[in-house]
């Protein structure tokens, strides 16, 4: 395994997409692509699997729902039952209509926050994280493809230039 990568900079998303396809067809490995905005079809072209974050949100939502039911059952039915407005709290099911709003709110609360926390952890972003994009222009208007070098550097550089890269740079990785 070589420890060299090429940073190829593009200035158009359509050119980038074509280039990603070309590079992959030539059996090179794309380490990463940095873009200033979501380029549609890029993850497909790169062969990135679908994200499963929505599934986690569903599970977190169920957790929140379960927590809400457990909490209100414990507080209102088991621990300290009260007769409120002539509606004694004998069982959870009988009082359930009054508990629906909070069952819903906690479902959303858990799903939303835990999903976002999962996103931040999986993508390694969060407070005090230092940005690691190799070129500051990739958050503005440039697109950067990081390709690992296996074999001939010049051949790969040619391919990238032919695919529309405006700059290429060989970088040593450690």
């Amino acid at each position: 395994m070589s420890n060299k990568v090429i940073h190829a900079v593009f200035d158009d998303d359509d050119v980038l997409l074509e280039a990603v396809k070309n590079v992959r067809e030539a059996n090179h490995h794309i380490e990463e692509v940095y873009t200033p905005f979501p380029v549609h079809g890029l993850e497909k072209a790169m062969g990135i699997a679908n994200t499963r974050i929505a599934i986690t949100a569903f599970i977190y939502g169920l957790t929140g729902l379960g927590f809400a039911v457990w909490m209100m059952n414990f507080m209102m039915i088991e621990d300290w039952p009260q007769n409120i407005g002539g509606k004694p709290n004998f069982s959870y099911a009988e009082n359930m209509p009054a508990f629906v709003p909070i069952m819903f709110e906690l479902t959303v609360f858990f799903a939303a926050h835990l999903m976002v926390i999962t996103f931040y952890m999986r993508s390694k972003i969060g407070p005090f994280v230092k940005a690691s994009n190799p070129d500051p222009r990739t958050t503005d208007d440039k697109f950067l493809m990081e390709v690992s070098v296996e074999g001939d550097v010049n051949e790969l550089t040619d391919l990238l230039n032919k695919s529309g890269a405006i700059e290429t740079k060989v970088v040593e990785t450690h």
């Binding site: 906690l106 939303a112 230092k130 990739t138 958050t139």
Partner: protein, 462 residues
């Protein structure tokens, strides 16, 4: 032709922009200096805010007896303002979540500011129930905490407790939604910042966002799921706010139509506030090419629809009250008694501002005019404040027992707190407008090729 869009669709980004132009335009207000007007408006807002703090401190120090509340009218301006502010907040979530689910591209020019407005409006709203407790230092009793902390378990049968959960969920989810969307834009500002202090601040704010392909994939999925969660959430919030009234037995409040009617009213007033803010902001921050006449017109259309729903609700409330033949219904906020009684001015302010004037927006010439849109937005803001005032004060002033009928007189403290929240809101919004990327530039860049004027005209004239 992945970027094809029908030529008949009007462009959403005017001028022949490149990606870099968009970065420059969005970063300009942050990198530039504030002008005289900003300082003038900011100073006025700050003074109003300070006055509000004084009025709140006086209330907390002395007790809510300093308000104009009396035996019969025990809710008045405070809850009016609470519902008014929380309703205003709803437009931001509607724009960022509901319009995302409907794939409306025009939301991208305005969603950031609308969400900011949501968050700042919910801050103001949250203040009122807190100070209305009287003993604000016991506010934590609304949390479900064990009995040793001084209270019994909270009562989960109470709509007021549902409010606590609904509003805190709404506020926190809105903040998270907003902040996640801001990360790529903070990163853009970070990477072009030249001053070390600015770079440091925006590095911190951007959470180390780099724009990797996998991150973008997750980002888009998270946005979609958050939109899917925020849509029922925003509907639930004003539904639950309406339960504060609808689950009671006060004539005029005990009404099953309240939840949908409140939600429509909230969106109505919220869009009016977005309109008020953005018509000024597009001028001051030079964003006329991103927040265009088309955006304003589309918002006016939403105002027209939701205003129509609200008007139908008024008519049905009026009719059903009258048709019931119950004498108590003769004096509810939508009744002949209200229209001709001592609160006739509040009744007619509601009908004129929310029902009659907005109908002018059916005329295309008027709804595409910035000045008319601005004035209309102000009228609707006033009208929607009166709606809540009417629901609360008129209904409470005419209870079951005519000998208890009374009027409400606000004190200077009531007025001070209300003006203070307006000041606080504008202080926050003005600071936001100077320090945050006020347009979701990453999203706007993604629609530049399909909806940008330059790209569109080149494609269509081929």
């Amino acid at each position: 032709m992945s970027h094809y869009e029908a030529p008949i669709r009007e462009p959403l980004i005017l001028g022949d922009k490149s990606y870099h132009d968009i970065s420059n335009d969005i970063a300009a207000p942050i990198e530039g200096k504030a002008n005289k007007w900003w300082w003038a408006v900011f100073s006025i807002a700050l003074i109003a805010f300070l006055w509000g703090i004084g009025a709140i401190a006086y209330t907390i120090g002395t007790g809510i007896g300093v308000w104009g509340l009396n035996n019969k009218i025990n809710w008045a301006w405070d809850i009016t303002n609470f519902v008014w502010w929380i309703g205003i907040g709803h437009a931001g979530t509607l724009i960022s979540a509901v319009l995302l689910l409907f794939r409306q591209k025009w939301r991208m020019g305005i969603n950031r500011s609308a969400e900011a407005m949501t968050i700042f409006a919910v801050f103001q709203a949250g203040l009122f129930p807190l100070i209305h407790m009287g003993r604000i230092w016991n506010g934590y009793w609304t949390m479900p905490i064990p009995n040793q902390f001084g209270s019994l378990w909270t009562n989960f049968n109470s709509p007021l407790l549902w409010d606590v959960f609904a509003i805190s969920t709404y506020l926190s989810v809105s903040v998270v939604f907003w902040w996640t969307g801001l990360l790529p834009d903070f990163a853009m500002i970070r990477d072009r910042a030249t001053k070390p202090f600015q770079k440091k601040i925006y590095s911190l704010l951007s959470f180390g966002w780099t724009g990797r392909a996998k991150d973008w994939q997750r980002f888009e999925e998270v946005s979609l799921v958050l939109a899917g969660l925020a849509t029922p959430l925003v509907l639930s919030v004003h539904t639950i706010v309406s339960f504060d009234f609808a689950t009671s037995v006060i004539p005029g409040w005990h009404s099953t139509v309240y939840p949908p009617y409140f939600v429509a009213g909230a969106v109505f007033s919220g869009f009016a506030m977005v309109q008020t803010l953005l018509i000024i902001m597009r001028k001051v921050s030079n964003l006329e090419e991103y927040i265009t006449r088309l955006h304003i017109e589309n918002m006016n259309k939403v105002i027209l629809v939701t205003g129509g729903i609200v008007m139908v609700a008024y008519l049905s409330e009026f009719f059903v009250g009258w048709y019931s033949g119950s004498s108590y219904e003769d004096f509810t906020y939508l009744s002949i008694g209200a229209a001709t009684g001592p609160y006739w001015w509040a009744f007619w302010a509601l009908i004129l501002c929310n029902g009659v004037f907005p109908q002018l927006l059916w005329i295309k010439k008027l709804r595409t005019n910035f000045t008319v849109s601005f004035i209309m937005a102000i009228i609707i803001n006033i009208g929607m404040w009166f709606e809540r005032f009417d629901i609360i004060v008129i209904n409470l002033s005419r209870g079951h027992l005519p000998s208890t009928w009374t009027q409400f007189e606000p004190t200077f403290v009531d007025i001070g707190i209300f003006v203070g929240t307006i000041g606080f809101f504008f202080v926050l919004f003005l600071l936001y407008a100077r320090t945050f990327p006020v347009v979701a530039q990453a999203e706007v860049k993604s629609i530049l090729k399909s909806s940008g004027d330059g790209y569109k005209s080149r494609r269509d004239n081929k």
